[in-house]
Symmetry: C2
Subunit: 189 residues, 2 copies
């Protein structure tokens, strides 16, 4: 399991054998059962996560309704709202499946970067990749029609359609379950 | 003008006097006239920018229409699509006003980080701030109704309404100019 963390880093940048061992030794792997609420809107978000296995949904409650913000699966980093700040996070994190994550914290990060400054550039490079992916995702969401958004999901993350309940997929796409059903019917014809 | 770059960094993290001088010496300030196309969809995006003064719009052309992706003003970083990759950027960058920017490139960044590793942590910290702001922007866009999006803009960036043509504001909010007019009328009543 631990090697997943190393693989994630290697997907983005190089890692010396020495650093690879440090990553393995310092990893903080945690296992959650399906249904676990990893974070509650009122909590302080001290931790960020990398999903190693499973599926975790972030959402908030507005006007009494759950609004799905993101659905994280293998290889995706989770940075909760207000991470590292002394403020309630306002978001929920819920395991849609049994999940395995690596957990980090600002304090631990700072400590590691102090001790092993070689991680500075690794963090910076991976940060840039995440930033650019996030920007792309936002722009493509903004430009796409609801139907295109659904099609884009079927192309880029087809597994989600099997793993996540339909009403959560709808909410993730910014749609009502009814609109999503209509779109799917239209596309079938 | 150059101090704007230092101020930007100081807004997010500390900077020793030595590093402050290095930032000033290594800055690459550029001035553009209103209407300048800083980047064309077919170009390779070798440079990223920090807007020091003025207003720059990023857009793409889809189905023969300009779609505004982002409007950058003072203190906002611009990372064009495919920045640092050997691929056409697919986006345009156009100056809505006479503008002053600091321009950077991956090669120059790497060179600076090699020479002054102290910048690693500064880049990482600022990257995290940008990432978290970007995520917030995406989530709030996703959750908001068109009317709420407009209201959010009037609260968070009221200057844009004076600086940017109405049809570009509409496109930025994912609306047609007609829908935006209707929303504005409704809110006036």
């Amino acid at each position: 399991m631990k090697n997943e963390l190393v693989n994630y880093i290697l997907n983005h940048t190089e890692l010396s054998n020495e650093l690879e061992n440090i990553v393995i030794e310092s990893s903080n792997i945690r296992t959650y059962k399906k249904g676990t609420l990893v974070l509650n809107e009122k909590s302080i978000a001290n931790e960020s996560f990398l999903v190693l296995k499973g599926c975790i949904r972030s959402y908030l409650i507005a006007d009494g309704e759950e609004k799905t913000l993101e659905i994280y699966t293998e290889g995706q980093p989770i940075m909760p709202k207000n991470y590292g700040k002394e403020l309630p996070t306002e978001h929920f994190l819920e395991c849609i499946e049994d999940s395995v994550v690596n957990a980090g914290s600002k304090a631990f990060e700072e400590q590691m970067l102090q001790k092993y400054p070689q991680f500075q550039s690794i963090c910076r490079i991976i940060g840039e990749v995440i930033m650019s992916k996030q920007q792309e995702l936002f722009f493509s969401y903004k430009l796409a029609s609801p139907e295109d958004r659904y099609l884009h999901l079927t192309e880029t993350r087809p597994d989600l359609l099997q793993r996540v309940p339909q009403y959560q997929i709808a909410s993730y796409l910014g749609l009502t379950p009814q609109s999503l059903s209509r779109i799917k019917k239209r596309l079938l014809n």
